[in-house]
């Protein structure tokens, strides 16, 4: 170990450290760049004609003059940028909007092909409405427990947050278990994936939804682990809300599937 650098500032470079010294750079390049960066205000390059702001210790009147902790975070602890809207939440809503297109396509395909089961089992012969109704109720209640988890983390109640997240994951697992049971029953009754266009579109639609629920359960369990290790506190509590948005979306997709697939006869 060499102590050649002892006693120097951390950002001071000597020949042989970092970038190779080509011998044609001015000696004060580092200081010049540092000073230039310091002159750029937060929020990017100012627009032409914008009034430059100088921190004189007086009352702050611009968003970009706010302290760093406040300016970069929205009211829910998310990274807000300069718009006041959490970037993470905006991205999640955009993702959910795009998911609408995915499930819209799958539901449309099912609606087109639900009557195409010539000679084989059709929707009216195979669906078990009481069983699916109970599954729907379970998923609906998981939305309640999820929103209670979000509410708990907003209050800083870690114990109840973990409790509600675990219950939500349990209810989700119950729903997925019910779906596996339903698929197994249908298969034993003779409705395979390639039996008919109806069966293919049905398994694809409900299977995709089941995969989404399973991904949600994994996210919930990961969240429980993060909360247990105190990694979801203060500014990071928004992550619970984001997982909650995903979970509720899975629920609203099932609301549509339950009505259009199970309740409306072919």
């Amino acid at each position: 170990m060499s102590d050649a650098g002892a006693g120097r500032p951390a950002d001071e470079k000597t020949p042989g450290e970092g970038a190779p010294d080509l011998g044609n750079e001015p000696a004060d390049t580092t200081n010049t760049v540092t000073e230039t960066i310091d002159e750029i205000p937060m929020g990017g390059v100012p627009e032409p004609g914008a009034t430059p702001t100088v921190d004189t210790g007086e009352e702050r009147t611009h968003l970009t003059d706010m302290p760093e902790e406040t300016a970069d975070r929205d009211a829910h602890g998310g990274d807000a940028g300069t718009t006041g809207i959490s970037n993470n939440k905006l991205a999640m809503w955009l993702f959910l909007g795009s998911e609408c297109l995915l499930f819209g396509g799958l539901i449309s395909t099912y609606m087109l092909y639900r009557g195409r089961h010539s000679g084989s089992l059709g929707p009216d012969q195979i669906y078990d409405l009481p069983f699916t109704s109970v599954s729907s109720f379970v998923l609906l209640m998981s939305s309640l427990t999820m929103v209670l988890a979000v509410s708990s983390v907003a209050r800083g109640d870690i114990r109840n947050t973990k409790l509600w997240l675990c219950i939500t994951a349990l209810l989700g697992a119950t729903f997925v278990g019910g779906q596996v049971y339903e698929f197994t029953t249908f298969y034993r009754e003779g409705l395979g994936f390639t039996t008919s266009l109806f069966s293919s579109s049905f398994y694809t639609l409900t299977g995709f939804h089941g995969v989404h629920v399973t991904v949600g359960i994994i996210m919930l369990l990961a969240l429980v682990g993060m909360v247990s290790r105190d990694r979801v506190t203060g500014d990071r509590s928004e992550v619970v809300e984001l997982v909650g948005l995903y979970w509720h979306f899975v629920d609203i997709v099932w609301i549509v599937i339950f009505t259009l697939v199970y309740l409306i006869p072919a």
Binding site: E59, R60, T61, H62, L63, D74, A75, H76, A80, T82, T83, G84, I85, K89, L90, W93, L94, L96, G97, S98, C100, L101, G104, G105, I107, S108, M111, L112, L129, P130, S133, S136, F137, L140, M141, S143, L144, M146, V147, L148, S151, A154, R155, E241, G244, L245, H248, F249, D251, I252, I255, V256, F258, T259, L260, L263, I264
Partner: protein
């Protein structure tokens, strides 16, 4: 002046401050209200299932669709906090949803789905 600028650029923060004045937390609804909403959703689900077993004639399909939309909007508005959050989220989500519904209705119409 400074207050109006801040609120204009941080609308969600302004709404939260307003919510706090009424003693409500974070997004404007209490746990009790969430439970009541869940019970309403459960009741609507029960209504959907029961309407499948009783003969209501031509009202069957409209009634089911209305109840489905009511559940959908309730979950999105209250559980997903869209009612209390920044309006841009509402715009983004319903724009995507409307686009999806429109595109797939056109696609279904192409296959003469609605004239069957």
């Amino acid at each position: 002046m400074s207050t109006s600028v801040s609120e204009h650029q941080h609308p969600s923060r302004g709404e939260d401050l307003a919510a706090d004045e009424f003693g409500e937390h974070h997004h404007g609804a209490t746990d009790k209200q969430y439970i009541i909403i869940a019970l309403i959703l459960a009741a609507i689900t029960a209504g959907e299932v029961s309407i499948s077993y009783i003969d209501v004639g031509p009202l069957f399909l409209p009634a089911l669709l209305i109840m489905m939309v009511a559940k959908f909007v309730t979950v999105v508005s209250y559980f997903m906090h869209l009612k209390f959050d920044n309006r841009i989220f509402t715009f983004l989500f319903y724009l995507g949803l409307s686009l999806a519904v429109f595109v797939y209705c056109v696609a279904l119409a192409t296959f003469q789905f609605f004239s069957r």
